[in-house]
């Protein structure tokens, strides 16, 4: 069964969605990712959707859900590389994904993630 790879980069996890998402795949990703965050005690998750060209309301909600779950598990989540067409579709569907942090590309996302985690660390101290 196909699955979306979750790469570990130090204290971060990188998820690159390179195939068309279907509902089963999204549910599987949700399971895998939450498990991986738990296992590696990750502090941040980067979801790269730059190759995703089509979304429906289910996938849109799924992305928001995954982000919420990661947050509960203590990992900041950033959605990177959304295509214009996808952004327009989500907006038209009324899914503005409030509370989901976004960045233009992986590099920016990584910088933002570090920044967030650093500031969190300061808060805790």
């Amino acid at each position: 069964m196909e699955r979306i790879p979750i790469l570990r980069m130090g204290e971060f996890l990188l998820v690159t969605i390179q195939v068309d998402m279907h509902d089963q795949l999204a549910l599987k990703l949700q399971d895998d990712l939450t498990a991986a965050i738990q296992k590696h005690a990750s502090k941040g998750v980067l979801i790269d959707i730059s190759t995703l060209e089509m979304v429906d309301s289910f996938i849109g909600r799924m992305v928001a859900d995954i982000s919420g779950m990661s947050k509960i598990l203590g990992a900041e989540t950033i959605l990177v590389g959304m295509q214009p067409a996808v952004a327009i579709t989500l907006v038209e569907l009324g899914l503005s994904l409030p509370g989901v942090a976004t960045a233009l590309n992986v590099e920016r996302g990584m910088a933002l993630l570090r920044q967030k985690i650093d500031s969190d660390g300061v808060d805790e101290l």
Binding site: L79, V80, G81, M82, Q83, P84, V86, A87, I88, L90, V91, E92, S96, L97, T102, A103, L104, N105, R108, G109
Partner: protein
């Protein structure tokens, strides 16, 4: 043969009809407008006369949708299209066909002479034919005008959405004119695409040129802002005039979470600060 008479008259007194017609046309279209030359007009009248003579000879009835009238129809469509492009009004265009009646009826009368019944019948037939041809001309004229308007609308849409790069990582989109769904869509698409192309972090939507902001326009603006945020770029709305600020509050539109500034300069200053650049005097 009724129609034969019509075509006979056309054949026999074609020259006189054309002369009379040209004179009427010249009188109907005020001289000196200079949109169409006398030579061109003569060519058009000659061509029309030739085609209608040929058509009347073969046609069974005055049904202009018949295949015999195809050349006539096509010719009139051509004339009306060129007139629409030249800026003629619809009545001026229709006059081209309708002013054919007077000289044609005169020629019919000369041919029939005393036979009132036959004359009335022929006149009615000719009127029917010319009326439908005239209406066809106007219809084509209208269609050509609509095509012109549609094309201009499309061109305006493309012209009115320039995305400019103000600074490294900062884009600006000065919006001018009323915002509707179609325009917002184009604006959104071109802005988002530009964000991807340039990797900009901040986009400034300048609405100085937007005359009114109602709930619909505000909703369109919010959509653009949200789409930008989803892509990981920030958005600042600038150029909010005092009246617009008042309207937005009165309408109860929630612009919370959207950064707004009174003018583009302030927005640029903020954008520079956010990108970490600074300007020194």
């Amino acid at each position: 043969m009724a129609d034969a008479t019509m075509s006979n008259v056309l054949k026999k007194s074609g020259k006189e009809i054309q002369a009379g017609w040209a004179k009427d046309l010249a009188a109907a279209l005020p001289a000196g407008k200079g949109r169409i030359s006398a030579i061109e007009l003569e060519q058009q009248t000659g061509e029309f006369l030739k085609l209608i003579t040929a058509a009347a000879e073969h046609a069974k009835a005055s049904d202009i949708t018949a295949s015999d009238f195809k050349p006539v129809r096509e010719f009139l469509e051509g004339v009306s299209r060129s007139r629409a492009a030249q800026g003629f009004t619809s009545d001026e265009t229709a006059t081209f066909v309708f002013s054919f009646k007077k000289p044609f009826f005169a020629a019919l009368k000369a041919e029939m002479g005393k036979d009132a019944d036959a004359l009335a019948e022929q006149t009615w037939k000719a009127t029917e034919l010319l009326d439908s041809l005239g209406l066809h001309t106007v219809k084509t004229f209208q269609k050509s005008r609509e095509e012109i308007i549609n094309r201009q609308q499309r061109e305006m849409l493309e012209l009115s959405t320039p995305v400019v790069k103000l600074w490294e990582g900062i884009l600006a989109l000065p919006m001018i004119g009323t915002l509707d769904s179609a325009r917002t869509q184009v604006v959104m698409e071109s802005l988002l695409q530009k964000v991807v192309d340039t990797g900009a972090q901040i986009a400034i939507l300048d609405i100085t040129g937007v005359p009114t902001v109602d709930t619909l326009v505000a909703q369109h603006l919010l959509k653009t802002v949200t789409a930008l945020r989803l892509m990981g770029a920030e958005c600042i709305i600038s150029g909010v005039r005092p009246q617009i600020a008042q309207t937005i509050v009165h309408l109860g539109v929630d612009l919370q979470g959207v950064t707004t500034k009174a003018n583009l300069a302030d927005a640029l200053a903020l954008a520079l600060k956010r990108t970490g650049s600074s300007l020194a005097k």
